[in-house]
Every structure is written in structure tokens, then in C-alpha cells.
């Protein structure tokens, strides 16, 4: 069993959903918390990509296989279908071309978990509407000029992109204030979303 109690809610869902013993690529794996949970709890063969060298160092120090690299550039070096599951958590909005990255994700992995902040969350809309300025929220605390999020998208945008790319959405989860919420009105109510997709 995976001890998901210390994981961020979207990662806890992924940890629950990934089958035991599979091969996983975690793109933007951070300090490796999810990888370590999958390795220790489900005997998953987990590999990671992380751009921040200090975080890679922490991953290596906990015995994980993590490559310092840029997902925009380095995914291309992995062979087709090398992984059962590819994970892209809170990273798609930082990609140079999210559509291409999504396609790459499902080239190297047979299925993928993708989580991203929902820019149609009502607090965002309200901040933009009432103050006329780019929102700074608890979940996205960085000002517009410093943020790594260069492609702002919504739940509906993602669903449309999946349709355009011919990608099947298998499952979806929504979160607000670090808790899972139901799917109704998610494009308004969800602070961030997690999708399980398949080629």
C-alpha cells in the first residue's frame, strides 16, 4: 500500500491509481515524493525528470533515478511505449507547446496522468473581473512576470485539446483548497484538475 498521507491531493490520487509493478515516468517529479511512494508502496519502476538541480540532488540522495532535464527537450530521447504510465503534475502549463507535450507524453507512456491549475476557477475570474489584474492566489502565488506558467488553461480547454488530439479521457478528478470536490460545475469550482488520459 502507498502511504499517501503526506502527498499533495492530486499526487495521492495518482499514487492510488497507478497499478503495482508498472513502469512509470514522472515528469517534473520535484523532490521525488510520489516516485518514492510508488517505489516503496507498489514496487513501481519509477524514473523522473526534473529541471531543478537541487531537487534532482534530493531525489538521487533518496535512491531514485532522476535526470536533470527539460521536458520540452528531453522527452524525445525516450523510446515509444517505454513506460506504462507517464505523469505530468502541475507542469503542462509551463510547457513551450502543451499540445506537443501531451502527444509526447502518450508516445512514451501508454497512459498518462496530467494535473494542472484551472484558470477558470471562480476566484481567478473574480480577481480578473473585479481588480482587472492577473490573479495571485494561494495555489498560484507568483506574479505574472515571475511565473513559470506560460500557458494558462481551463478544465474546458483541456477537454477540448484532448478531443482535438484524439486522446481518450478515462478519468477526471477536481480539487479545491487541497480537497477533492465533485465534478459538477468543475470549470468554475475547481482550483486544479487531474485527468487520466489514454492514446
Amino acid at each position: 500500500m502507498v502511504d499517501a498521507s503526506t502527498l499533495r491531493p492530486d499526487l495521492a490520487v495518482i499514487a492510488r491509481q497507478v497499478p503495482a509493478g508498472v513502469r512509470v515516468l514522472d515528469i517534473g517529479c520535484g523532490d521525488g515524493a510520489l516516485m518514492a511512494a510508488l517505489r516503496d508502496g507498489k514496487q513501481v519502476d519509477a524514473r523522473g525528470i526534473e529541471i531543478d538541480g537541487a531537487l534532482v540532488e534530493r531525489c538521487v540522495a533518496r535512491g531514485l533515478s532522476v535526470v536533470q532535464g527539460d521536458a520540452d527537450r528531453d522527452l524525445a530521447f525516450y523510446p515509444d511505449g517505454a513506460f506504462d504510465v507517464a505523469i505530468l503534475s502541475q507542469t503542462l502549463q509551463t510547457a513551450a507547446r502543451p499540445d506537443k507535450m501531451l502527444a509526447e507524453l502518450l508516445r512514451v507512456g501508454r497512459r498518462a496522468f496530467v494535473s494542472f491549475p484551472n484558470f477558470a476557477y471562480w476566484r481567478m475570474r473574480w480577481a480578473l473581473l473585479s481588480r482587472g489584474r492577473m490573479p495571485v492566489t494561494r495555489h498560484l502565488p507568483v506574479t505574472w512576470y515571475e511565473t513559470e506558467n506560460i500557458h494558462h488553461m481551463t478544465v474546458r480547454d483541456f477537454e477540448e485539446l484532448a478531443r482535438d488530439l484524439g486522446i481518450a479521457i478515462e478519468n477526471r478528478w477536481f480539487f479545491t483548497r487541497e480537497r477533492e470536490i465533485g465534478p459538477s460545475g468543475a470549470n468554475w469550482r475547481a482550483e486544479y484538475a487531474l485527468f487520466e488520459v489514454r492514446r
Binding site: D45, V56, E57, V60, A61, S65, V67, G69, F77
Partner: protein, 368 residues
């Protein structure tokens, strides 16, 4: 030269990439820490071009501490209270292993009759030593620079012999620039009249001037420009004004001269020729049909070794792009690999110097 603690004489001829074989080759080595009863805790550390087996014990010629004493020892990142650490002088070198200064079957020094060797030949020698020690599978093979080349070559050619491969500040192929710098060094040695076509062993003089120049040129490639500027700038050496002559006016000149002359006390010029040649010949992809990923095919998903590569942002001799090239090949082969580029001001030499994140990566990788 001082006798090493242990010498293993290979019972079989050592076959070489050049087609020849060396009969009765000797491998000099040092060990640190206890070997477990099941021989599962051995770590082989491979040394760099001018390194030797004195990894964590004083050098018998210079009296200086071992070349990686900051990394290897009880409680250190390569912890000798846990691991049995082996470091052997490569063939072709001059600290007790068979090389051009050793006696050939006719009793005279090999000199330039010594066969040209490759990094893979060095690794064959090391694997023969492991066979002699009864170590089937290493806990890890570790090396920086040419040591990293040996680690990668061992992984490519003997995939079952190591469970972990840690290659630091290294490359899987020598570039045109790498070869060019080595050629400057070799030509400096060969241009020294005391080189005598390599037959200087019976004479009072050795090609020390040429070897010193070779070392000076190479030493520049081990440092970063920023590091040199910080250490020396344009400061003058023991004088207030330029001499308008060709003394070592600048501190950096004096430093390089000191590095060059110190080196000739402990290293054989012909060994320098042979080992630099071996490095220039390195192209692990070429050895395996031209595709580097194929060289690591023995490490696909779930079997073989775990890899870790480390580069330094100021290393222009074997820059990060070379490590990435290896990482991409390992990814393509499906091998488990970690890679990190560390920030350190010392250029290529960073792997030998005080870089705390390197300590953490080495320890984490070896213990994980």
C-alpha cells in the same frame, strides 16, 4: 618508484583492442575497508589520466594525501566502514602496473614497443583483477574523468559486473578538441631531445621539459577561466613590476611551471603518451556499431545496473552536453539513470575538490 601494497599478475595474456596481447601483465592496487564474506560490498574506483591507486592513502613519491581522500574513508561519502574499496593502477601507467617503463619479455623496458592500449583494454585489466579477487559483481564502479570513461566502458562491455555505475565529469567519446589538446602534450614530449624516441630509461635525463609542458597545457583544461581569474588574475609573482623578460612574471605562469615540474617527479613521459592515446581512441558508440544506446543494451528495464552521471557547469573539457549525450543513450536503452549538473567554480577539477552537493549525490547513489 615505490612498490605498491599489492600486485596481481594476470594468469592469462591480456588481449588488447590493437590485436596484440600482454603476457604476465601486472596490476598494482590498493584496497580500503573490509570485504564482506559474500563479497557483495566491493566498490571499484577508477583513476584519471595521471592518477594512480593511492586513492585514500599517501602517495609514496610525493607524500601527499590520497587523490580522493575527501571522498573515500570511514564515514565519508564512499564509506570504507561499509564498503570494500578497490583502486588499481591502469595498465599503461607507471605506478606498479605494466606499462612502457616496465620490463618487456627481453628484460629491457618496453618503451615505445609497448602496444597501444585503449580504455577498454584498461577495463579488461581491471576485470581480470576482479576475477583474481573473486569479485563477480561490484556494488559499484565509480570514476571521474578518465575514471568515468572506464566506468562507462565497464558497463558497456561487462554489463553484469557492476550493480551501480557512477560516472563523473566524463564522456563516452573524445572530441576533436580533447584530442587536439592531447596532441599538443604528446608533441611537447616527443620534441624534447631527451625523449630519444622513447628510449630514455637507461639515461641520466628524461624528457622532463616536454612532459612538464604537456602537463601545463593539460592543466589549463582542468580549470575554468573564472577560476583562473579568481585565483591569479593578472597578479605578478614576487615582484612589483614586469621584468620585460621571460621569467614567470605572472602568478599564473609560476603556478603552471610548478605544476609541470612537480608532475615530472612522479610520472613517466611514455605512460603519458600511451594513456592520452587510449583516451583519444575512446568512442564507446563506435565499439558497439555506432549507436551509443546499443552499447548499453545489456542494461534494459529491470536488469543490469543503475547509472548516475554528474557534470559540472564550469567544466569545458567534458562539458554537460557530453554527460547528457550518455544519459540520452541510457534513456533510449531503458536503463535506470540519474543525472545532475552541479554548480562549482573549479572547472573539470571540480570532481576532486570541495563540492558538497557532489558528496551528497555520491553517498545517496551508492547507499540507495
Amino acid at each position: 618508484m615505490a612498490a605498491p601494497s599489492h600486485t596481481y599478475t594476470l594468469p592469462q595474456p591480456l588481449p588488447l583492442d590493437g590485436g596484440q596481447a600482454i603476457e604476465g601483465a601486472a596490476i598494482a592496487y590498493e584496497t580500503y575497508g573490509e570485504l564482506a564474506a559474500d563479497k557483495s560490498n566491493a566498490i571499484l574506483v577508477c583513476h584519471a589520466l595521471t592518477g594512480d591507486q593511492y586513492l585514500a592513502s599517501p602517495h609514496p613519491v610525493t607524500g601527499k594525501p590520497g587523490w580522493w581522500e575527501r571522498m573515500v574513508g570511514p564515514g565519508k561519502p564512499i564509506d570504507t566502514s561499509r564498503y570494500h574499496v578497490i583502486c588499481a593502477n591502469v595498465i599503461g601507467s607507471c605506478m606498479g602496473s605494466t606499462g612502457p617503463a616496465s620490463a618487456a619479455p627481453d628484460g629491457k623496458p618496453w618503451a615505445m614497443r609497448f602496444p597501444v592500449i585503449t580504455v577498454r583494454d584498461m577495463v579488461r585489466g581491471l576485470v581480470a583483477l576482479l576475477d583474481g579477487l573473486g569479485i563477480e559483481r561490484l556494488h559499484a564502479v565509480v570514476g571521474g574523468s578518465m575514471g568515468g570513461m572506464q566506468a562507462l566502458s565497464l558497463a558497456a562491455n561487462f554489463p553484469e559486473r557492476a550493480a551501480r555505475v557512477l560516472a563523473i565529469a566524463t564522456t563516452a567519446r573524445h572530441s576533436a578538441q580533447n584530442i587536439a589538446f592531447h596532441e599538443v602534450g604528446r608533441q611537447a614530449i616527443m620534441a624534447d631531445p631527451n625523449w630519444r624516441d622513447g628510449d630514455y630509461y637507461g639515461h641520466d635525463t628524461a624528457p622532463d621539459a616536454g612532459l612538464a609542458v604537456a602537463r601545463m597545457a593539460a592543466h589549463i583544461t582542468y580549470l575554468s577561466e573564472a577560476g583562473l581569474t579568481e585565483k591569479f588574475g593578472r597578479r605578478l609573482q614576487d615582484r612589483d613590476a614586469k621584468s620585460f623578460g621571460f621569467d614567470a612574471d605572472f602568478q599564473v605562469e609560476s603556478y603552471l611551471r610548478y605544476q609541470g615540474s612537480g608532475f615530472t617527479r612522479r610520472f613517466d613521459a611514455n605512460s603519458y603518451l600511451y594513456i592520452t592515446r587510449a583516451m583519444d581512441y575512446l568512442d564507446i558508440a563506435e565499439e558497439h556499431g555506432g549507436k551509443l544506446a546499443d552499447a548499453f543494451a545489456g542494461h534494459a528495464m529491470g536488469k543490469g545496473a543503475r547509472f548516475c552521471l554528474v557534470s559540472f557547469d564550469t567544466d569545458w573539457l567534458y562539458p554537460t552536453s557530453e554527460s547528457r549525450h550518455v544519459v540520452h543513450a541510457l534513456n533510449a536503452a531503458g536503463a535506470p539513470v540519474s543525472f545532475v549538473e552541479l554548480s562549482a567554480p573549479f572547472g573539470h577539477d571540480s570532481f576532486l575538490l570541495d563540492v558538497p552537493p557532489l558528496d551528497r549525490v555520491v553517498k545517496g547513489f551508492l547507499d540507495g
